[in-house]
């Protein structure tokens, strides 16, 4: 019987030691190091070790956690049939009504409320592509309602998939990407250093559009003069005529460059005037968009005036690739994106019809470039250049390959933790554990002498078991800051089980003479107490796990593991050691 006990006790200890060794290896040798110099083989090996070791939460190893929210208003607008896409006026008023409805409804009631408040026939016209001929006319709106609700769900799933593909292109390990509710996507990437890059890769819609530039500034300047507040900002807008910068009011009828210039510090002021006036007649089918800070004229940002009409959209391109110009090229070493058109004829026609004009390539409402169309372009190939860094070009490639998101997304919540803060927290947690353990050690030895030592041993073993359990890839638990607190606390509480047993032994010593009787009685009675008290705690941990969210869940796992392990170490292991001691020392009396 005693051998069997030792078999279980030693077996589990050895398994735990094996289980904990990758964790020790990973955190002492690889954690937080720069991997860029390692070979692929080495990287795979490290990944393997990492999979088998304890996963730290974002708060401890740094990284980014975001909850993204699909813009349902934008989604509804994007779902409108193509034939209405250029009816900018109608769409604008529809959009502002949708915004109102959305602000007053939940995501569940949104579609129903639209049908309650907007003319159903117009809606049927907007979305007629979704309605098959076979549907009876008076059933159409009910049917459409159902279809649109379904669309919201499928679009959420497809957005999640698109974002997953983009993140995968970054080559990060084990990102967590999942949908939540009916309009949210949760993303968690741990251990990532360049969080701002990740964020822009995720957040950008990936909307690629080709639009024509309006370069007749004379007409523009006349029309815009009626815009409220324009007189105040027009002095910040300049036009380059080849020699000097001219003020916008003195605009020539055509310019050499497809864009105007705004001094960087006034960009916000200019933006404000335009966005505040987006109902202004002339801005219904035209728009202004920003380019990038100018390379040649430092301190200026490019401002474009474009047709709203989309000549060609991202859905009509294929094979986007990030490439580097060869050394002998005049753009030597620069990165660009090459792409092909699904239907080269369309691009050929556009270029043929608009010779001499500028064609802007717009990605997510920022003009990347706007070359002049000198001649008809056949062959169906194009390049986007624009001083991209390698990462920028690679990210644009990833975004274009993954495709356009069905709607804009906003960040509902974001947690971004720097690795340095995480390692501070780890150090603090470590220090608290050591000090707590040390004080309990001293106290228990002073109070229970040899038995105190036994309890201390059980406590350390308990800690080993918990970490081994949590490191197990099957359990896949994540240790976060409250989790450390939970772990330290279960260690403290694990002592409790031993205290209950030892106090029992003291009591039983006055009732029985035989030492074996004392031990057996004490453990049996104490077991019932410990079971009841621990099971209730386990129940609360279980409900935390099932109904809590995020960090609370991880905490619940740690707590449950702690309780289960402590019952084993405090009852089984200590009893095994006591029984062995009694058997081999043949003692008749114990002091406690």
């Amino acid at each position: 019987m005693l051998y069997f006990r030792w078999f279980i006790f030693l077996g589990l200890s050895i398994i735990s030691l094996i289980g904990i060794s990758p964790t020790i290896d990973y955190y002492s040798n690889y954690f937080g190091n720069d991997y860029s110099s390692f070979s692929t083989e080495k990287l795979n090996e490290i990944q393997d070790i990492k999979d088998k070791s304890l996963t730290l939460g974002l708060d401890l190893q740094g990284g980014i956690h975001m909850v993204l929210e699909l813009d349902l208003v934008d989604l509804m607008i994007n779902l409108v049939n193509d034939e209405y896409k250029n009816d900018f006026k109608e769409l604008k008023s529809y959009e502002s009504i949708l915004k109102n409805i959305h602000s007053e409804s939940t995501n569940i009631t949104f579609i129903d409320n639209i049908f309650d408040r907007y003319d159903n026939q117009t809606l049927i016209n907007f979305y007629s592509d979704f309605i098959p001929q076979s549907i009876d006319t008076n059933q159409e709106s009910e049917y459409l309602k159902m279809i649109l609700k379904e669309k919201l769900t499928t679009k959420l799933l497809s957005s999640t998939e698109i974002i997953r593909n983009r993140i995968d292109a970054m080559g990060v390990t084990e990102p967590v990407i999942q949908t939540k509710g009916n309009s949210q996507i949760v993303i968690e990437i741990a251990g990532i250093q360049d969080t701002s890059r990740a964020e822009s890769l995720i957040k950008n819609t990936g909307k690629l559009e080709f639009k024509l530039v309006k370069d007749n500034y004379k007409t523009w300047s006349k029309k815009l003069n009626k815009l409220t507040g324009f007189s105040e900002i027009s002095k910040y807008i300049y036009i380059f005529n080849g020699n000097t910068m001219l003020e916008f009011s003195a605009a020539p009828s055509s310019a050499i460059l497809p864009y105007t210039f705004v001094q960087n510090e006034f960009v916000n002021d200019v933006s404000k005037i335009f966005t505040n006036n987006d109902n202004f007649g002339y801005l219904i089918d035209s728009e202004f968009l920003w380019g990038k800070p100018d390379q040649e004229f430092e301190g200026f940002t490019q401002l474009f005036f474009l047709n709203k009409y989309v000549e060609l959209s991202g859905s009509e391109i294929k094979n986007p690739r990030a490439q580097q110009f060869p050394i002998e090229d005049m753009n030597s070493g620069q990165w660009y994106i090459s792409l092909e058109f699904e239907n080269p004829r369309v691009f050929e026609e556009i270029t043929d019809d608009n010779k001499g004009k500028f064609l802007a390539i717009v990605l997510d409402n920022e003009v990347k470039m706007a070359p002049r169309i000198n001649q008809k372009i056949s062959g169906g190939k194009a390049q986007i250049t624009g001083n991209f860094s390698k990462n920028e070009a690679k990210d644009i490639e990833a975004i274009l390959i993954a495709g356009e998101l069905p709607s804009k997304i906003s960040v509902a919540s974001k947690l971004q933790v720097d690795a340095s803060l995480g390692s501070d927290s780890i150090n603090n947690g470590y220090k608290s554990i050591i000090i707590a353990l040390f004080s309990i050690f001293i106290f228990m030895i002073l109070y229970y002498k040899g038995f105190g030592l036994l309890a201390n041993f059980a406590m350390i073993l308990n800690l080993l078991f918990i970490i081994a359990f949590l490191s197990n890839p099957w359990i896949n638990a994540t240790l976060s800051l409250p989790g450390i607190a939970g772990m330290i606390l279960t260690v403290g509480m694990a002592i409790d089980a031993n205290v209950i047993i030892f106090e029992r032994i003291r009591e039983e010593m006055s009732k029985h003479r035989n030492i074996m009787d004392i031990i057996e009685h004490s453990y049996n009675r104490a077991f019932k107490t410990i079971l009841d008290s621990n099971l209730t705690t386990l129940i609360s941990a279980g409900s935390l796990y099932l109904f809590g969210s995020g960090p609370i869940k991880g905490f619940a796992v740690t707590l449950s593991m702690g309780i289960i392990c402590s019952m084993f170490t405090a009852i089984f292991v200590t009893k095994t050691i006591i029984l062995t001691y009694l058997k081999f020392k043949k003692v008749q009396k114990i002091t406690i």
Partner: protein
């Protein structure tokens, strides 16, 4: 052999009537504080942005940082020292991260929108209530309903006391505090169950004894264990409070209060309520059977 209590009999039952007033007054203090001071909600529950900044040579004090933010006309709602050389700034509304991180060494940026914060609040409350319900059921099955009501009351008592002190010392309510509540529930329940378990045993063993005597005996028998476990747990939570760094300060403060209150409530709240209910209803139920 050291013992805190050597065969000494404390008459706990006679102290119950005084303990009542202590608990009442603390809870009344809590209610007053709740209405006049109000809890400080963290961004988890209220929404907003929290930015943690590591001080460096450019901005080496909290005051310099505040002056800098003002000069950039960035409006913040709260700024305070956080851990050793970190500063925490709170913003009520959304804030542009690029603007902030331009000249400041931001080590953590946490933005929580209002939809998320209401989700978190709801989830937390749901988890707490279900936990309490299941615990109550378990105690009814393993013990009796007097004990169940007594222990659940003790848990509410502990949470109220912890909330009172959190409000009093202006600690923030966030997801960590919910975790603390659950640990406290676990701890306090553990304490109560150990005592109730002893009573269950003693009622069976000394069937002729008065209930109040049995309670006194059980409390005395378990008192050593109660004290030792409190001490070891307090070692842990105080070490967490002192060395755990800024982000664990609120949690560990709640735990210190919770361990003290949990120890107290298992003797002076759950036991008296259980005794009162048993005295009142146990006899009636038995008479009915006859």
């Amino acid at each position: 052999m050291i013992r805190f209590l050597k065969d000494k009999k404390i008459n706990f039952v006679s102290q119950f009537k005084y303990a009542k007033y202590l608990s009442y007054s603390l809870i009344i203090l809590g209610v007053i504080l709740y209405f006049f001071k109000g809890p400080t909600l963290g961004i988890d529950f209220k929404g907003g942005t929290e930015v943690i900044v590591k001080l460096d040579d450019n901005l080496s004090t909290k005051e310099q940082l505040a002056t800098y933010l003002n000069s950039m006309s960035i409006k913040f709602s709260n700024i305070k020292t956080y851990g050793n050389d970190n500063i925490r700034i709170l913003f009520d509304n959304d804030i542009d991260q690029n603007l902030i991180s331009k000249n400041i060494n931001v080590v953590s940026f946490n933005k929580i929108g209002s939809t998320i914060s209401s989700d978190l609040k709801y989830d937390a409350l749901k988890a707490l209530s279900i936990a309490l319900l299941l615990i109550g059921l378990y105690i009814i099955i393993r013990f009796d309903w007097y004990s169940a009501i007594g222990s659940i009351f003790a848990l509410f008592h502990d949470i109220l006391i912890v909330m009172t002190l959190l409000i009093l010392f202006s600690f923030e309510f966030n997801v960590n505090i919910i975790a603390a509540f659950l640990i406290i529930i676990g701890y306090s329940l553990n304490d109560t169950i150990v005592i109730f378990d002893r009573m269950r045993e003693n009622i069976y063993e000394y069937s002729n004894m008065e209930l109040s005597e049995i309670i006194n005996l059980s409390l005395n028998e378990t008192f050593n264990r109660t004290i030792i476990t409190s001490i070891t747990t307090l070692f842990v939570v105080s070490s967490l409070f002192i060395f755990g760094g800024g982000s664990l300060r609120g949690l560990s403060f709640a735990l210190i209060v919770g361990v003290l209150s949990g120890t107290y409530s298992s003797i002076f709240v759950s036991t008296p309520i259980m005794m009162f209910l048993r005295d009142k209803y146990y006899v009636e139920e038995n008479e009915r059977e006859i």
